[in-house]
Each structure stands twice: as structure tokens, then as C-alpha cells.
């Protein structure tokens, strides 16, 4: 990779990312970047939901107020479709960036043919965090999960820790596909929604109607990820299925009361199999930015092998995207946590997803679809509607939504 220079010394770029392990670790290293290049970085770290709202506003308004930002997996279809991220291929070639070290799976979501619109820094997989002091073996099937949660659930320790609104959006698909259901018939071409079918209803009933409703942490339906991590750190939940990037928060020895009592496992499997969700978030440059070259200098530094390796070793970012870091002996040593080989679980999830079941998530209309599903699940989890009523109603709304977007779904 081309060396760094002080060509852009004195420029200030604005960076906007949502709060998770990697940006947290990266922020501490930014002064080194400024020393290396003379570029100042105005680093903004936001909660996930707020980040999404602000990003949509910024990108659609095209104000150029942000120079580099996170490219969110579930929005990548929508944002790239709208032409909002800058094509990074000329920058990659011009600086000899070692793009081949990046895992192909995560990169695929940001690629359209020859053009690359983002550099992935997170190849997030879904894992299950569990308290090994409360159970001898983690549950492996959906039935075992429900039984274990029921057995452990008490006022002081909830059987299960739902991941708030983010969880309804991100973890439900594991159960939807595990029961044999799906979002669309055959994305990205056939977008007929299948959320009113028996498998989908069964998944919603199991996940929201029974697990969340009866064994969840009280009030967690409203939680942002930070509150979920805090709850886990305080030892108030026995199990949590979420992104590796968020789960590792429970390992923070300074803040977590249960850092030594947790272990990792693969998410449980249902009758139709195991479908751990994977996502890749990256760094992109908005089309409207006026400091693209300086922004690229930051991006190639932040996603470089050295920086990624350091962030992984110094903080809790295990969901790396570089093959070289995943295979690094020190990385492997750090993330082998008593009984759980996290890198192996992580790689297993990424490999499983190679089968293609994640293709639903990059459909441009997916954000609007998942909003309706989240509402249906929330209504089910709070007992307002039965799973059947909620999902059938949601499916009807989604049908009309997709039609208005111009798809032939009937």
C-alpha cells in the first residue's frame, strides 16, 4: 500500500459512525493518524437508530457535511441504489490498497460488478452469549433455548436478553429461517413477501410471543444496544443472541461483573437448520463530500492491516474483515475465551452464510419491510396481538408497500 504523506495537512474531515466495538477502539488511535498525515478528524459516534436517521438526512440532502461514514449492511442496497456512496475503485487502485486481503463475503455486499462502494471493517456474525455459571451446556435447539430460559428466569436474572429494537430487526431472521420461513420468495428478483405463512407465524409466536414475552428482561423492548450491554454486564440476563461486535462488551473486565462467567456458542438451530445472521458494515465516502481524497486517506488507514490488528488486540473488536488478522496467532489467542473459540465460531457463521440466505437483507426496500415486521413482533411480544394477526397484517402492508415501490408481487 502507498505510504502516507502530509499532502492534506491542515484539512479537517468529518467522520460519522454508529457506536460499536471497532469505532470505539479506532477513536483512541485517531491522534496517531493526525500525526501521520496532518489531517484532523471530527469523530462522531452515535447510537444505531440515531445514526440511521441522521445518515438518511445527510445523504439525501447532499450537504457534504460528512466526509466518511459507516455503510450499514441493511441499508447498502438502498443507499447504493440511490447513488449516494462514492465509487472507491479509483482510490483503491491509485493507492495500491490491498483489497485482496479483505474477506470476499463482507466485500460482496459493497460491490456492484467492478465497482466497490465501501471498505468493510466489520464482518459481523451472530453468536450466542451465555452464562456458564447458570447452565452447564448452552442450548443447541430452539426447544432447548425456550426450556433453558424458562428454567433460569427469575426476577433478578432474566432467562433471556432481547436486543431491543435492534434485536427485533436483526435476531428474528435467525428464527424465521430456522423454522423454514423467509422474507421474500427469491430475492432479489422475486420479492413476494412470505411473512404471512405458517412458518413465519410460528417463528414470530416462538420468538416474540413466548421467549421475549415471558423470559425477557423487563423493559428491554426499548433498549438501545448500549443498555443491553450494560444489562449483561450487570449480570441480569442469562443468554443473549446478538452481533459479536455488541456481545464482546460483556467481556470488558473493567465494567462487567460477569466477564469471567460468560462464554460463546453458535445460535441455536431450528427444524430447518441453523441460520446465524451475518452483516458487513464498511466505510464509505458520501457523493457530496468535498474532501474525498483526505477522507480516503482516513479510510485506508482505518481499514489497514496494522490498524485493524491493533484495534482487535487492544479492544473488543473480534469481527474483523481481513484474512491476515483472522489468522494472526495473537488475535486467535486473545479471542479464545474459556471453552469458546470465537474466531472459529465467527468463521463458521461467515461460511454458513455463503449459502446465500442473507440476500434478503440487501434488497433496497428491506428497511421499510423490516420496520413493519418489527412493529408486528413488538405488538406480539407485548401481548397486543397474536403472532398470526400481527404477521398477517404486516404481510398485507408489505405487499402494498412493495407494489407502491413498483414491484410486481401479486
Amino acid at each position: 500500500m502507498a505510504p502516507f504523506s502530509k499532502r492534506f495537512a491542515g484539512t479537517t474531515i468529518r467522520l460519522s459512525m454508529f457506536d460499536t466495538a471497532f469505532p470505539r477502539g479506532l477513536r483512541g488511535l485517531v491522534p496517531e493518524f493526525t500525526e501521520l498525515t496532518g489531517i484532523n478528524v471530527d469523530f462522531e459516534l452515535l447510537g444505531f437508530t440515531v445514526f440511521l436517521q441522521r445518515s438518511d438526512l445527510e445523504l439525501s440532502g447532499g450537504t457534504g457535511a460528512v466526509d466518511a461514514m459507516t455503510l450499514v449492511f441493511a441499508q447498502s442496497g438502498r443507499w447504493i441504489g440511490a447513488g449516494w456512496p462514492e465509487d472507491l475503485t479509483p482510490f483503491i487502485k491509485g493507492s495500491n490498497f490491498d483489497i485482496d486481503d479483505l474477506l470476499p463475503g463482507p466485500l460482496a455486499a459493497m460491490r456492484r460488478g467492478e465497482k466497490i462502494y465501501g471498505i468493510p471493517w466489520l464482518a459481523d456474525s451472530q453468536l450466542m452469549l451465555y452464562r456458564k455459571d447458570l447452565m452447564s451446556t448452552p442450548p443447541d435447539t430452539f426447544d432447548e433455548l425456550l426450556e433453558t430460559a424458562k428454567r433460569i428466569h427469575s426476577p433478578s436474572v432474566a432467562g433471556y436478553m432481547p436486543a431491543g429494537k435492534a434485536g427485533l430487526n436483526w435476531v428474528f431472521p435467525t428464527f424465521l429461517y430456522g423454522f423454514g420461513g423467509k422474507f421474500f420468495a427469491n430475492p432479489p428478483t422475486d420479492l413476494r413477501p412470505e411473512l404471512g405463512r405458517p412458518e413465519a407465524i410460528q417463528a414470530a409466536d416462538y420468538w416474540a410471543g413466548r421467549l421475549l414475552r415471558n423470559y425477557g428482561v423487563p423493559g428491554s423492548a426499548n433498549f438501545e444496544d448500549t443498555e443491553g450491554i450494560a444489562t449483561m454486564q450487570q449480570g441480569r440476563a442469562a443468554m443473549w443472541i446478538h452481533s459479536l461486535g455488541q456481545l464482546t462488551g460483556a467481556l470488558d473486565r473493567q465494567k462487567s461483573a460477569v466477564a469471567d462467567k460468560v462464554a460463546f456458542a453458535a445460535p441455536p438451530r431450528g427444524p430447518a437448520g441453523r441460520f446465524p445472521q451475518v452483516a458487513s458494515h464498511g466505510l464509505m465516502i458520501p457523493m457530496a463530500s468535498k474532501k474525498k481524497e483526505a477522507a480516503w486517506e482516513f479510510i485506508r488507514w482505518a481499514t489497514s492491516r496494522e490498524t485493524m490488528r491493533r484495534v482487535a488486540l487492544d479492544s473488543q473488536h473480534a469481527a474483523v474483515t481481513r484474512a491476515s488478522v483472522l489468522n494472526d496467532p495473537e488475535f486467535k489467542k486473545k479471542y479464545r475465551l474459556a471453552g469458546s473459540d470465537v474466531p472459529a465460531l465467527h468463521l463458521a457463521a461467515l461460511t454458513a452464510a455463503g449459502a446465500g440466505y442473507m440476500s434478503y437483507r440487501t434488497v433496497p426496500e428491506f428497511p421499510a419491510v423490516t420496520e413493519r415486521v418489527v412493529i408486528a413482533l413488538s405488538a406480539t411480544a407485548s401481548g397486543q396481538k397474536s403472532a398470526a394477526d400481527a404477521m398477517t397484517a404486516a404481510n398485507g402492508e408489505i405487499l402494498r408497500l412493495l407494489e407502491r415501490a413498483g414491484h410486481k408481487v401479486r
Partner: protein, 294 residues
């Protein structure tokens, strides 16, 4: 001197014109844009969607269950908050109208909720209703009481919003009613007392009718403001659980800013605007708003 008067009128008009122009541009411009986009399926991620589609959005609204749910939520929210604020405001105003010790300090103290920035009020109440963090735990934990999850229980969530809203805005109705009480003439009350009317009768037949214009003014203000309830919902419940606390303006907000469906959201807002204007016209036209001394 008609020609001089006409000259003056012209000068005034010319001097006012720039200000008027700016005012119209700033208010009418966005309104016009709102109206125009309500007739398009505008989605900011699809530039080709700025095209005329007639009343499609409005027809879709009629079929949209989530929209009708939001209307129901708005109705319940407005009814509960306006009623509570009027009743409580009246009670407080009557209390504060008496010669109390530290009356000035009390009055100032009661005004505090109203002058706090709404987002602060929302955060305060969110903490209050979050079982993990709430100061209420000081009472409930030693007694072994398990608090319900206020903000995520469908039966309770809207109630928490109403409570926070009433706490925040009752000082407003109190102020208006207190001012009206202090301007009330003493003679009718004196006469009634001399005639042997009980305090309750005095209240029902003299004070209340004289307060009617103030009550209607306060009620109308609060009604129109209740349509704008946003910070509380955004911070405390996000419209949830499900859509149990999602009034129409919040639904419109999510469509416009979470989903960039500007066209659909505009249609919703236009409908809200028309309903608000109709309601205001209705209430302003009601008899009793004029100060008639009967």
C-alpha cells in the same frame, strides 16, 4: 387631505412589502411544497419518483390500518391530556388565587415544568419510568414490589406519555386561568355571598361561567399543541410497544425521516393540517368565547 392619505398608504405598503414578501415566502413556500409532494410518490432514494400520481397517497391513507391506529392514538392522547390539564389547571389556579403564605414562590415553583426544554422533560420521565434506573426503586425494592415495565406495556405506555405531558403543561393552563380569576369582578361573588350561596354554588354558577372564555382559550391552545406531541414520544417510547403510542405526526415523521417516503408523509401531514384547521374553526365559532356578561 385625501391625496396625502393615499400617498401615505402607498408609502406604508411599499415599506411593508419586503417584510410581507419574506413572510409569505417562508410560510407559503414550504406549505406549497408540502401540498405538491403529497400528490407524488416521492422517495428520496428514487429520484424518478417526483411525478404526479394524483390522489394515490390519500387513497392509500384511507386503506392504511396503521394510519387509522395513529388517529385513534392521537384522539386518546389529546382527549386525556387536554381534559386533565384543564381540570388540574383550574384546581391549581383556584388554590393559587387565595392569600397563601409564600404565594409568589409557590407560583414560580409551579411554573418550572413549563419552562424546561421539552427534551429534558422527556429524559426525566424516561428515567423515571425505566425500572432499571428509576428513583422509585428506593421505595419499591425494599418493599419487594416489582414494577411493571411502564414504557413497554401496551396498557400503560400511553398513560406514561399522558402523565408526562400533563406534568409539563398544566402550568400553562394554570397561568391562563389564574389571570382570568384575578381579573374577575368582585361584585357578583359578593352579591352571591350576601344572598347565602355556598362556596360550591358560587363556584358553579358564578366563577365557572365567567371563566368560560379563558377555559376555551386554554383548551384550544392545549388541543392544538397536543397534535404536536413529539419529544415525549420520541424519547420515551418511540411509538411503541408496537404502535400503541404512535400518533399521526409521529407516524408521518417515521415515514419521512426513517424511510424517506416524503410523498406519503406529506399527504398525512396535509390531512392533519386540515383537521387542525377545522377543529380550530369549530371551537372558535362556539358561543361563549366572547366575553358576554350574563
Amino acid at each position: 387631505m385625501t391625496s396625502h392619505a393615499a400617498y401615505r398608504r402607498r408609502v406604508v405598503a411599499i415599506l411593508l412589502a419586503p417584510a410581507l414578501f419574506v413572510l409569505i415566502a417562508v410560510t407559503a413556500g414550504p406549505l406549497l411544497y408540502l401540498l405538491v409532494t403529497s400528490f407524488t410518490p416521492l422517495d428520496l432514494t428514487r429520484p424518478d419518483s417526483f411525478r404526479f400520481s394524483g390522489f394515490d397517497n390519500y387513497r392509500e391513507l384511507l386503506r392504511d390500518d396503521r394510519f387509522w391506529n395513529s388517529v385513534g392514538v392521537q384522539f386518546r392522547l389529546s382527549a386525556a391530556t387536554v381534559l386533565a390539564q384543564l381540570v388540574l389547571g383550574l384546581g391549581l389556579a383556584l388554590l393559587l388565587n387565595r392569600p397563601l403564605p409564600f404565594r409568589e414562590a409557590l407560583r414560580t415553583g409551579f411554573m418550572v415544568p413549563m419552562v424546561l426544554p421539552p427534551i429534558i422533560v422527556a429524559i426525566i420521565w424516561k428515567i423515571w419510568f425505566t425500572p432499571l434506573l428509576t428513583p422509585l426503586n428506593v421505595l419499591t425494592v425494599p418493599l419487594g414490589i416489582v414494577q411493571p415495565s411502564w414504557l413497554t406495556e401496551p396498557a400503560l405506555a400511553l398513560g406514561t406519555i399522558v402523565l408526562a405531558d400533563v406534568w409539563e403543561w398544566t402550568p400553562f393552563t394554570t397561568l391562563i386561568l389564574l389571570a382570568a380569576l384575578q381579573m374577575m369582578p368582585d361584585e357578583p361573588l359578593e352579591a352571591a355571598r350576601v344572598d347565602g350561596a355556598s362556596p360550591w354554588q358560587q363556584f358553579l354558577w358564578i366563577i365557572l361561567p365567567l371563566l368560560r372564555p379563558a377555559l376555551m382559550a386554554a383548551g384550544l391552545f392545549r388541543l392544538i399543541d397536543s397534535f404536536k406531541a413529539f419529544p415525549l414520544i420520541f424519547v420515551m417510547t418511540g411509538g411503541g410497544p408496537g404502535v400503541a403510542t404512535e400518533p399521526t405526526n409521529y407516524y408521518a415523521y417515521t415515514q419521512a425521516f426513517n424511510q424517506t417516503f416524503i410523498g406519503y408523509s406529506s399527504a398525512m401531514i396535509v390531512v392533519m393540517l386540515m383537521v387542525t384547521m377545522a377543529l380550530s374553526a369549530l371551537i372558535l365559532g362556539l358561543p361563549g368565547l366572547q366575553r358576554d356578561a350574563d
